[in-house]
Amino acid sequence: MDEEKRIGVFVCHCGTNIAGVIDVKALAEYAKTLPNVAYAEDYTYVCSTPGQTMIRDAIKEHNLNGTVVAACSPRLHEPTFRKATEEGGVNQFLFSMANIREQNTWVHMEEPEKAMQKAKDVVRMEVARASMLEPLTAKTVPVEKAALVIGAGIAGIQASLELADAGIKTYLVEKEPSIGGMMSRLDKTFPTLDCSQCILTPKMVDVERNPNIELMTYSEVEDVSGYIGNFDVTIRQKSRYVYEDKCNGCGKCQEVCPVSRPNEFDLGLQPRKAAYVPFPQAVPLKFTIDMDSCIKCDLCKTQEACGDLEAIDFDKPDELVTVKVGTIIVATGFDMYDVERKEEWGYKVFDNVVTGLEMERLISASGPTGGNVIRPSDGQKPKSVGFVLCAGSRDQDEEDGAKPYCSRVCCMYSLKHAHQLIEKIPGCVPYLFYMDIRSFGKAYEEFYYRIQNEGGKFIRGRVSRITEDPITKNLTVTAEDTLLGQLLEMELDMVVLANAVVPAESTQKIKTLLTLSNSPDGFLLEAHPKLNPMSTTTDGVFLAGMCQGPRDIPDVVSHAAAAAAAASIPIHRGSVTLEPIFAIVDQEHCGGCATCIGLCPYGATELNEVDGKLVASVNEAKCKGCGTCGSGCPSGAIKMQHFTNEQIMSEIEAFAQGW
């Protein structure tokens, strides 16, 4: 570039976060000595309004044409300072950021001198980079006025209803035959004791009736391409072997079906047929033939069953549907920890040891026992029930796949079970073995007091072993009562393991398709844990509910509504600004070797004949800016904008200039 480079360097104190470790004034003074630096200054908080004003004013006052801020991570504040630079009248892509906090003063607190040297080096490198940056123009593209929601538990349902009510066409994809998710399996919800189905079913029906929602059950997202505003999504609608438009939900196919197998919805506690709906309130109320169990006896097709409706067709294939959406919400929920791995508790070995979710089905009026809580071994009503809290949560035993985090729902649902047992079975005593009772939500602590007053017994200590009397099938629970400092052995009729919630297996595929990341706990990673818990690092993709981490129903609903609001913003705005970080081909130097064609994962590089010569070109809309083609081009004809060879090489040269 011909114009003389005049770069301004702004060093942030970040309170004492940076200034407490290194000498920020000396760093600014050092910056003044660097080539192309016309101005340098330090300030307590550069990201604050006065700090940003300082950048704008300095640009004008000192006629700057490039800026460098030495502060926190560009992953945090790059957009802030780009904006300030642009407002000062300089192209926002002529800004570069030196990370002297996350990757310096916070990690080298004990070595201030070396941290200072590193800060100087990094500022020098960024100034060198800023000297080579070129102005770019951000591109604006229109946004498709539709959204996709993956998963139709309470999170997906809530998000879809919010989007649809905001006038946005919403595709709601659910892999199971019915929507409703985990919440549809619950009996009552804590602490208000609302019946879960009673509050959920109306929402499920709303989803089915809402003209803006296109419900796709028994379907899975197969492929996603494109970018924010313009995602192309391929959805596999698995064959139910039943035509949904012909099935009226009469259930005669189910009546005649001779096959019996465990119902997944009831966790196998009662059977279902091969022709089935998972539960009576299912939405849509359309039957599904489970072809893995079907014996093709054709009884369901007879005149007494489906007959004239002719809704059943064993040859009905899967269908692939492609939809175009502007934004995507992931609401893929969670799985339950496989507590069988904790051998000391004897789950699946002793009949009367059940999980929290199994207890939920046993206690539910729509469950296998019609809400009569019975011992699986003999059908008797239990008079004493132990609850093992934190079964797989707050447990650092990696070998058993246990999780160090708190699952956030088990304390409360165990309290609720305790209440329900006291209510349903006169004389029944629940014993809760706990580490801490975490009753943190609105009216939760009050609910805890209520169960104490109702006669729930609380023992602070972990259960180390459960054994079974082979004749009575009663269980002996061994635990330490840490408040009394005593070892405790107690004979109980039944034990409920409040097992942890864990990341859903099925989320993995979605994670890969949308290039999302995990946090250390295995749940999906949010854009920012506090300030942006519903967004992801993939623009246009949002998170709702348990897929991001354990939370209870009120929190899931709030999170889903937040995700819907965030997902509706680009749609309502009608357009999004894309980073102009894409590759361009210098066709004069391109030899047409096609190396870049094989390197691009998005098919953005194309080979065309121009003036009788084969040359490559990059489709801007498809290019995501990884730069893989640029570093593979043998003739150096591909330029990766904002990360050009010249820019990176200048950083490397500056790296070596300090020593």
């Binding site: 991570s73 690092t537 490397i652």
Partner: protein, 152 residues
């Protein structure tokens, strides 16, 4: 040498995984040696082999490339390509007289701040054992013209 040798290592990190992981190490205040200067690129797929050669030729004692785990690449497969390139580059730099351990590629996710701290510590230990960049050693020993006509 009077002072203990402090290696100068160039880190080339992808924006989505390792750079974020290194930020997490910072947010968690994990302490590690201050020997790495980081260049952020969007994807390790952007790693031009020339970057590594350039870094060594200007005197870097080591180059640490780090990106997403296989299957986690934000751009689907950039890390596959850089892994390939780094494997080849390690052989190439050996031909030039550099120990292959001076170039290393790791895969560190956005949630693995602790691993980033460990990797830096480990890389610093390795380079301390290897000593300064042989090019710098040669220059220090007064072998003039070594860079021009010898194996460098």
């Amino acid at each position: 040498m009077a002072e203990e040798f402090e290696p100068n290592i160039l880190g080339i990190l992808c924006n989505w995984c390792t750079y974020a992981g290194a930020d997490l190490a910072g947010t968690s205040r994990m302490q590690y040696p201050p020997n790495v200067r980081v260049i952020r690129i969007m994807c390790t797929g952007r790693l031009d082999p020339a970057f590594v050669l350039k870094a060594l030729s200007v005197g870097a004692d080591g180059v640490l490339v780090s990106g997403c785990h296989i299957g986690d690449c934000h751009y689907l497969a950039g890390n596959f390509k850089s892994r390939r390139r780094v494997a080849l580059l390690r052989k190439l730099i050996e031909e030039y007289g550099y120990d292959r351990e001076r170039l290393r590629m790791t895969m560190i996710s956005a949630s693995e701040g602790a691993i980033w701290a460990e990797v830096v510590q480990d890389m610093v230990n390795t380079i301390k054992k290897l000593g300064p960049n042989p090019l710098k050693q040669a220059v220090a020993a007064g072998q003039e013209g070594v860079a021009a006509d010898d194996e460098f």
